[in-house]
């Protein structure tokens, strides 16, 4: 079994990135425009990368399946973005942010990457303010902060409940400026369906023009994927309807290893499912846990209204079990506890939901203060449920939200395919087995603004490139492959709809590869997914043609990929005989029911190499913890 080279620079952790930047080779300014860079995805990670690379003078081609870069899923992030500014003078530092992130990730992330993330976090805030991002401010005119799960300091910057929107619009404006300047050419409404590898180097992509149906080919010296996460494998998740795994999955099938696919984050504060035709789950920002108290009845099957349940019958279970973090325990712990009390029959009306109650905060701070902090979140809640959270407690339940797993990358964010770089949620890099709140926006922008401009330059400066043309055989072959796949999907003409398959897969994933997993369930999941995949290729009905806008066809391709990815997630979860972060194996827990890691045998990132659907080889990257001492996570 081969080991992976993470290319972590030598030296003490505080100086690794600085030294590394100095040692990286630079591309002569005059030569930069001779290099073509493809950036797929223009969310936070992709837009910031494309804009920064354009500014440096590279010739950038950016792709998105959206009609505009401003629509990427990043837009929906509500709560905020972390940085180690220590503006609140409450003891924060780069080291503390690094420490919290490594510990929050349950010791399954690479220390060097996390340190760099914490280090550049401060530059991100500076950059965004300079772009005109209207962060929340205090009366004195300085930036305001709030606290978030898994941290005891106030380091989260926010723009009401729409932080992702404002950050993305910042990156979008920087990108728009480069489009205007001609350094970036934007190809929207294009879906990447294959990666072209020539002589071992990533040299291009094949996309479908979603309006005309045409299959198009583009070449470059390097390819950057920033295509987001894969929570939609569960069908119901907090992700946007169109978020999908296709770009990273097709790259995986061309040789990019997929790391830790089973690490998924189930977010504790989402609206509960209301019915069968439900299309997605809405997240209520975790920042609500700052002022909301989580509770259920002490009595099983209690159907009384919240206001009729007296204090003595209420169980504030997070405050009870985790007195020092209380309602602000990390996400995985909060989610699992919600599941536990509901499984006991103590959920709202005995069902799947717990209360998130603001009455104490409203009494303490006044309704106006609560409105200022969470006004738009309360409005969202009311439009969806028809209930007013100022008067009755919210009902919440966990839902799939974020995928820590993704394509394996080294310290330079390069995958196991030379010249293929992966940024943002699409890679596996910084969050280990569990991501802390407000850290994804930070990572996406760190990767795009402050890491890739350096590491990509080094790659270009140290490699020799033969000239390639989209008319050469490798491109034609991949184009043919994509065409064949499209034709095949359209020709099955079976009886079941694409959504029907997706929902069936989602149910398997949620029940057996969800919040709590066990050997038996995972084995069942693997065989059920295999069966479902076979059935899909025999019985799916994809209506319409390939010559114009066909949303059913788009979804069919994505579901076909989920049917392979789902199996890999289950296999990874089955192989990992320990519990860590978002991966909870029922067989491995402490007496108090907490995740029990096995550092001796599983202190590695599992990077899977694709052989064929259902068959993968495992590569291990051993993780060393020199700066944050391995310990049992405790939030008591």
């Amino acid at each position: 079994m081969s080991t992976l080279d993470s290319k972590i620079p030598a030296g003490p952790i505080e100086s690794k990135w600085t030294n590394h930047k100095f040692n990286l080779k630079l591309v002569n300014p005059a030569n930069k425009r001779k290099y073509d860079i493809i950036v797929v995805g223009t969310g936070l990670a992709g837009a910031s990368a494309a804009a920064s690379l354009g500014e440096l003078g590279y010739n950038v081609k950016a792709f998105s399946f959206h009609d505009s870069p401003r629509r990427a899923h990043s837009i929906a992030a509500q709560g905020g973005i972390n940085a180690a500014k220590n503006y609140q003078n409450d003891g924060d530092s780069i080291f503390r942010l690094f420490y919290d992130t490594v510990k929050g990730g349950d010791f399954r992330a690479r220390e060097a990457n996390v340190y760099r993330l914490a280090e550049v976090s401060n530059n991100i805030i500076d950059q965004c303010v300079a772009q005109g991002v209207p962060f929340a401010r205090e009366y004195g005119g300085l930036l305001d902060n709030r606290s978030f799960g898994g941290a005891q300091v106030s380091r989260t910057f926010y723009a009401r409940g729409q932080t992702g929107q404002q950050l993305l619009l910042g990156a979008y404006s920087a990108l728009s400026r480069q489009i205007h300047a001609g350094t970036v050419k934007m190809y929207s409404r294009r879906e990447m369906l294959d990666l072209v590898v020539i002589d071992g180097l990533a040299r291009g992509i094949v996309v479908r023009n979603l309006i005309t149906g045409e299959i198009e080919k583009y070449s470059a010296h390097a390819v950057v994927l920033a295509t987001g996460g894969y929570s939609n494998v569960f069908f119901l998740s907090t992700n946007a309807m169109n978020s999908n795994a296709t770009a990273i999955w097709r790259a995986h099938k061309r040789g990019a290893f997929f790391a830790n696919p089973c690490y998924t984050q189930i977010h504790p504060t989402c609206l509960p499912v209301h019915g069968d035709n439900q299309s997605k789950l809405t997240l209520m920002s975790e920042s609500l846990r700052n002022d909301g108290r989580v509770w259920v009845s002490k009595i099983k099957g209690d159907t009384r209204k919240a206001k009729d349940i007296p204090e003595t019958d209420r169980d504030y279970y997070l405050e009870r079990k985790y007195p020092s973090f209380g309602n602000l325990t990390p996400r995985d712990i909060a989610s699992r506890n919600a599941k536990e009390v509901c499984d006991e029959g103590r959920g709202v009306n005995g069902g799947h939901g717990v209360f998130l109650d603001f009455s104490d905060a409203i009494n303490r701070l006044g309704q106006k203060a609560i409105e200022e902090k969470y006004g738009n979140l309360f409005e969202i809640y009311e439009t969806i449920t028809g209930e007013n959270p100022y008067q009755v407690p919210m009902k919440i339940y966990p839902a799939p939200h974020y995928t820590m797993g993704g394509l394996w990358v080294d310290y330079n964010l390069m995958s196991s395919v030379n010249g293929l770089f992966v940024l943002g949620e699409a890679n596996f890099s910084d969050h280990g087995a569990n991501r802390l709140g407000a850290s994804a926006l930070m990572q996406g922008l760190a990767d795009g603004y402050f890491v890739i401009p350096y590491t990509l330059g080094n790659y270009l400066a140290t490699n020799k490139f033969s000239s390639v043309s989209v008319d050469q055989d490798e491109f034609k072959k991949d184009e043919q492959g994509v065409n064949d796949l499209v034709k095949r999907l359209l020709s099955i003409k079976g009886k079941r709809t694409v959504d029907d398959f997706h929902k069936t897969l989602g149910r398997i994933m949620w029940n057996k590869v969800g919040m709590a997993r066990n050997e038996k369930g995972l084995k069942e999941a693997i065989s059920e997914i295999k069966e479902l995949r076979e059935e899909f290729w025999k019985d799916v009905n994809v209506v319409g043609s390939d010559k114009d806008l066909n949303q059913t066809l788009e979804r069919a391709g994505r579901v076909a990929d989920y049917l392979e990815l789902g199996e890999l997630m289950a296999s990874d979860a089955l192989h990992r005989n320990e519990s860590c972060g978002g991966h909870f194996r029922e067989e491995y827990q402490t007496e108090e029911g907490e995740a029990k890691r096995d550092d001796e045998n599983y202190r590695y990132a599992a990077a899977w190499e694709f052989q064929e659907a259902g068959k993968w080889d495992l590569h291990k990257e051993q993780l060393e913890f020199e700066y944050v001492k391995l310990s049992q996570r405790s939030y008591k």
């Binding site: 959206h66 303010v129 300079a130 401010r137 929107q165 019915g275 401009p453 709809t497 959504d499 806008l549």
Partner: protein, 256 residues
């Protein structure tokens, strides 16, 4: 929360391609009041697919009212009858049993129909590309707290920045004017200290592009504000006009 299903008649605009002639097609549905409007369309589409018919093309993504992708004209109103929400946030409990509902795309010369209910709003991107940004490169910027900004100004800039780029303002306007959208972006930067250096150039460039793309003039009927899902105020249009006049007076004239 829930109640008995609603029986509704939908008249949905179907149009095969930008150039073809469209028409309303009738669909009879029975839907839970807890369902969202788009989930109802999902269900219709699922049934169409089961009968080997082409589903209705409509766009949506976040389904939380923030990405700006969805946008339907429902009974003559962009984003439907409830103020201050996007189409995806509209729930069926707001309709009455037996009602007939008309569903159409956002219509404007600058937003050509692609298919059925999907339109092309890339004109908005072009307006932003013309100057809707602050010209700073990555790196080398001052510390975020170096320039204090009062809480009020930051909040006002945020109110303008909350625009989701959906285009309802244009669809609501009888002249298809984009003044609310442009006004919101111009205001955000005009309010902030970081936006000052390019203040005049920005407004001139964005207005020139807006005119070039076929958006109409504003005749102060304020239908845009009424239909805007984010409550972007017409004060932004007033500021846009002031900014434009001031810029013209100084005129540095815009690069092409």
């Amino acid at each position: 929360m829930s109640g008995t299903n609603l029986n509704l008649k939908l008249k949905v605009w179907r149009q095969a391609s930008p150039k073809s002639v469209g028409a309303f097609v009738d669909y009879q549905v029975s839907v839970s009041p807890d369902s969202s409007f788009l989930e109802m369309l999902d269900e219709i589409n699922n049934n169409l697919e089961k009968n080997n018919q082409d589903p209705i093309v409509f766009e949506s993504d976040c389904r939380e009212g923030i990405c700006g992708t969805c946008g339907l004209v429902i009974n003559g109103q962009p984003h439907g009858p409830i103020p201050r929400i996007a189409t995806c946030q509209l729930h069926m409990r707001n309709f009455k049993d037996g009602e007939t509902i008309y569903v159409e795309p956002f219509r404007a010369t600058a937003f050509p129909v692609i298919k059925d209910l999907a339109v092309d709003r890339s004109a908005f991107d072009k307006i932003i590309q013309a100057g809707g940004y602050i010209s700073v490169n990555t790196g080398g910027v001052p510390d975020a707290n170096e320039i204090p900004i009062s809480k009020e100004i930051a909040a006002e800039a945020f109110d303008s920045a909350a625009c989701i780029g959906c285009g309802a303002c244009v669809a609501a306007c009888k002249n298809s004017s984009a003044m609310l959208f442009v006004g919101a972006k111009v205001s955000q930067f005009a309010l902030l200290p970081q936006g000052q250096p390019e203040r005049e150039k920005r407004v001139e460039a964005m207005i020139a592009k807006m005119d070039e793309l076929g958006f109409g003039a504003c005749s102060n009927t304020y239908a845009c504000e009424a239909e805007c899902p984010k409550g972007i105020s017409v004060k932004n249009i007033a500021r846009l006009n002031r900014e434009f006049v001031k810029a013209k007076l100084k005129s540095q004239n815009v690069e092409a």
